[in-house]
Symmetry: C2
Subunit: 348 residues, 2 copies
């Protein structure tokens, strides 16, 4: 049986003709609105559905979107390519959550990949066109977030949500879903205090993104509140870790260090050992980011619930899509601390 291949996709008008009813009737039956469909006699309905099957009619989503302004498509725009490095990528887990949740609630995903400027960075607007607007709304992520793009999207009133906090001048409240860095870094300081640590130090990366600010503020506030001391350059804005400060640390009163990255923690570990001090015997260490499965040590570290965040982003986005006037505050997702063997109670 080799069926003939169809030329033109059938429209509601074709269905209507075949069923001997008006186009509106077809729309009412197809459209799924139970209210409207219910008001149609079973018999007419049956004839229409038969015609639909006969012709193999399927609704045209673009037309629907044009009318309804919605098509159950959610976008995902990453400011850097994701797939190429997906395996190791920081972002991969977010996508997992995004896909999972989208599937659960019956939305499809548009991956905006074409917007490459050729230099690796991706912009939302390409020759004046916001390509995102095929989708009802979009989740944005990436370190290299373009704030101008964000501001413009916000002004356009396009529904979107950003993973990770971003402050954008000119756009008061960018809807974001953010890990609770502020809270968890406070908890970390508290945990250290509970173990008897009074003198802490903070190791800072060279990045000045908002999420780092949150960590620093959370930690700094807690140190103050708990009456601890921290005389490290990191807390006051000096990134990195130099020999001078390592010397200082090795003979100073500090018994615990919070490092923004595993990289820094590794360097710290080497530096301390070179000076005859060990972790956690002499110094406890907590890592805030970048602890992978290939880690050399079981660092006590902060865990970002990426999949959770991806899911939360979809839910928040759908809420915004459903009600664009919604003034969404940022969604804060709690983080947790993964126990490692790099902290200990202070030696008496």
């Amino acid at each position: 049986m080799t069926t003939q291949r169809r030329e033109r996709a059938p429209r509601q008008a074709d269905v209507a003709r075949l069923a001997g009813v008006s186009q509106s009737a077809v729309s009412r039956v197809i459209g799924g609105d139970p209210e409207a469909a219910a008001r149609i006699p079973v018999d007419t309905r049956r004839r229409i559905l038969e015609a639909v099957k006969e012709l193999g009619y399927v609704p045209n989503l673009s037309a629907r979107k044009l009318r309804n302004k919605t098509n159950r498509l959610l976008g995902v725009h990453t400011f850097e390519p994701v797939f190429p490095h997906a395996r190791e990528s920081f972002y991969f887990e977010f996508l997992l959550g995004i896909e999972e949740r989208a599937e659960e609630i019956g939305y499809d995903l548009v991956l905006f990949t074409s917007t490459g400027a050729g230099d690796g960075r991706r912009r939302v607007y390409r020759d004046g066109t916001n390509r995102l607007n095929v989708a009802d709304g979009t989740v944005l992520l990436g370190v290299a977030t373009d704030k101008a793009d964000l501001a413009r999207l916000w002004q356009e009133g396009y529904p979107f949500i950003h993973i990770g906090r971003r402050d954008v001048p000119g756009a008061p409240d960018i809807p974001c879903v953010v890990p609770d860095y502020f809270g968890i870094t406070g908890d970390i300081a508290e945990r250290l205090a509970a173990l008897g640590h009074r003198h802490l130090a903070y190791l800072r990366e060279g990045l000045e993104l908002e999420p780092y600010e949150d960590r620093r503020r959370g930690y700094g506030d807690a140190v103050e509140r708990l009456g601890l001391t921290d005389r490290s350059p990191g807390l006051r804005g000096e990134p990195g870790l130099d020999e001078a400060w390592l010397d200082e640390l090795a003979r100073g009163p500090e018994t615990a260090v919070v490092a923004e990255s595993e990289r820094l923690a590794e360097a710290l570990l080497r530096g301390l050992r070179a000076r005859g001090r060990d972790v956690p015997a002499d110094v406890s260490v907590v890592v805030l980011e970048g602890v992978g499965p290939a880690a050399t040590r079981r660092w006590e570290h902060l865990d970002i619930p990426r999949k959770e965040i991806g899911r939360a982003a979809i839910d928040a986005l759908v809420a915004i899509v459903d009600d664009p006037d919604l003034r969404t505050e940022s969604i804060v997702v709690p983080c947790s601390i993964v126990d490692g063997d790099t902290i200990a109670t202070v030696r008496p």
Copy 2:
């Protein structure tokens, strides 16, 4: 500076009004058609572009698609979820190629994820709606390909391409991009023959999908053509590997085995060793599929250029989208053999 957030997205009509021209003029300038745009006086053009910028106008892609029947969106439909297991997935590499190529040629990707039936399998048609038709065309992949879906898509005339060969009754030539299993298995037989092997055996998996047929045909034809012998049950349709046949193999004239999967090869290896024979000293082994990075041995095996195939799929799809009347034959992508240490020349 806190700019006001816009209420309604501006349309061409708004731009036209502001620029003091007609809507068609705006369309001509915006639409990008150089022919049409060229016929518009520089001055008018400038006024229009200014109005566009002033209002922050961006074209509505749904309306465009409705008119033009194209929106530079390509779909990806997987018959099983991909992301959840993406890291290890057989399919992941295909996606890499797909994303890469789509980005290069300026298309965005729609990930059809919402079509889950709840049982893990995904169908194209959900309550009668072909969700794919938001995209200009779609790449389909998956083992659990639903042939009814494929047939229906084909009949509808929807532009798509399937990764992996599939024969669908009722749809003469499903456009597919397929690894050249037929050719490469022939090459494998030849390579073995060149090493002096005259008596081969074939180990078959229990799956009856088209790609397996291709491998079996390629191998079988070559064995015949080269005047080799193969008395294995695998070649004639018996899947698996039982003790009886292992005994047979251990004392028989066979000096080389082609196994459809690493799993089978492993079982073979164990069986042979238990019978005092070794690989490749006594028996050479070539594996056709499933050799991962965690393999216990450096199997001589077939390599599927997955990324290449993904890229080829996009190119083929775009060709079909551009010209739907195109009778696409299947695209065949050559495979290669990865050298391992499981084959050797026949001992004199």
